[in-house]
């Protein structure tokens, strides 16, 4: 569960990022990228708390890869803080996205089911 909660904090961070890093109003791609990523993470993490969709958090691996790729390609060199934030936030999301919901318990296939 803690991995999903951490992902929701990452989503909150991405939602604040356009304001914290002061994206220009004209920079629509970056605004959309950060806000859509935040919404996607929030949706995926919340839905994967429902047992039938417990593996859905793996979609966050793709969101993380997207954030890293977008930040890297759109950032260029030297990358502006907003792009560095996308890369580093994507890397952090990647760490949580691979952790299963019930990581502190035996996996279902090993567990007593009565």
């Amino acid at each position: 569960m803690w991995a999903r909660v951490s992902e929701i904090f990452v989503a909150a961070w991405m939602a604040m990022s356009p304001f914290l890093f002061g994206h220009f109003p004209s920079d629509r791609a970056r605004w959309w990228n950060d806000l859509v990523a935040a919404a996607a993470i929030l949706l995926v993490s919340t839905l994967s708390l429902w047992p039938p969709l417990r593996r859905l958090h793996l979609v966050n691996v793709a969101v993380a890869a997207w954030l890293i790729g977008f930040g890297w390609l759109a950032g260029g060199h030297p990358a502006p803080p907003a792009s560095q934030n996308e890369i580093l936030t994507g890397l952090v999301l990647l760490l949580f996205a691979i952790v299963p919901n019930d990581a502190s318990r035996p996996p279902r296939g090993w567990r007593r089911t009565d």
């Binding site: 560095q84 890369i87 580093l88 090993w110």
Partner: protein, 211 residues
């Protein structure tokens, strides 16, 4: 208690988690071992983040009581700026993420993850042993290339090496478990499924035998 359908796979409960992992007579997945790993890795992440603040120009200097301005010339070096061009982020920020990954992978999983989730232990092992070890060697080599030394960098390299000593036995126990599953079944499919945390009667029998 009524038997569940997974009892052939061992039917483990949350109370069965803290057991010794052969070939050791201790549990290398115990919190007593993994919490220090994560605390040490988090300390490495903090030191690296401090150096990243300098590379981001958020602070004007780096505290180094031994090499003085050496730290700053390492962090401002050609090597560091070339890494920045590739990574798009300062190398110290990437290093901080590396230590954070060791802390998170150190905390993830139960105290019997060497049996239940070998993929997690192996990933943690790859992160700490070859990657952590290589990064420590590169940090030391950077000192020779740049011609200056950096105390915070050397402290993080020492943390990387210390983490290897804390982490190796858990990885060994997990790989040894997979090897015993292979010896018993000679089935790549069972070993593959065990690696990914799928229980089976064969793997349960291996886990229950004393060696």
């Amino acid at each position: 208690m009524r038997a569940g359908r997974n009892d052939a796979n061992g039917g483990w409960q949350d109370s069965d988690l803290d057991v010794p992992a052969p070939p050791f007579d201790r549990n290398p997945s115990a919190w007593s071992q993994r919490v220090p790993v994560s605390v040490l890795a988090a300390l490495g992440a903090l030191i690296a983040a401090y150096m990243a603040l300098y590379q981001w120009d958020r602070i004007g200097g780096v505290w180094d009581p031994v090499f003085g301005a050496g730290s700053e010339s390492v962090l401002d070096s050609q090597v560091a700026s070339r890494l920045d061009r590739w990574l798009r982020v300062p190398d110290a920020a990437f290093g901080a993420w590396g230590y954070l990954s060791e802390a998170v992978l150190g905390l993830a999983g139960s105290t019997r993850r060497w049996q239940f989730r070998p993929w997690m232990v192996v990933l943690f092992g790859i992160d700490v042993i070859p990657l952590g070890g290589a990064s420590a060697v590169l940090v030391v080599l950077q000192g020779f290339v740049v011609g200056s030394w950096c105390l915070p960098c050397l402290v993080t390299a020492a943390i990387s090496i210390a983490l290897i000593f804390f982490a190796w036995d858990e990885v060994w126990a997990s790989v040894a478990f997979l090897y015993r599953v292979w010896k018993r079944t000679r089935s790549a499919r069972v070993v593959w499924r065990t690696f990914w945390g799928v229980g089976s009667p064969e793997a349960a029998a291996v886990a229950l035998e004393r060696s």
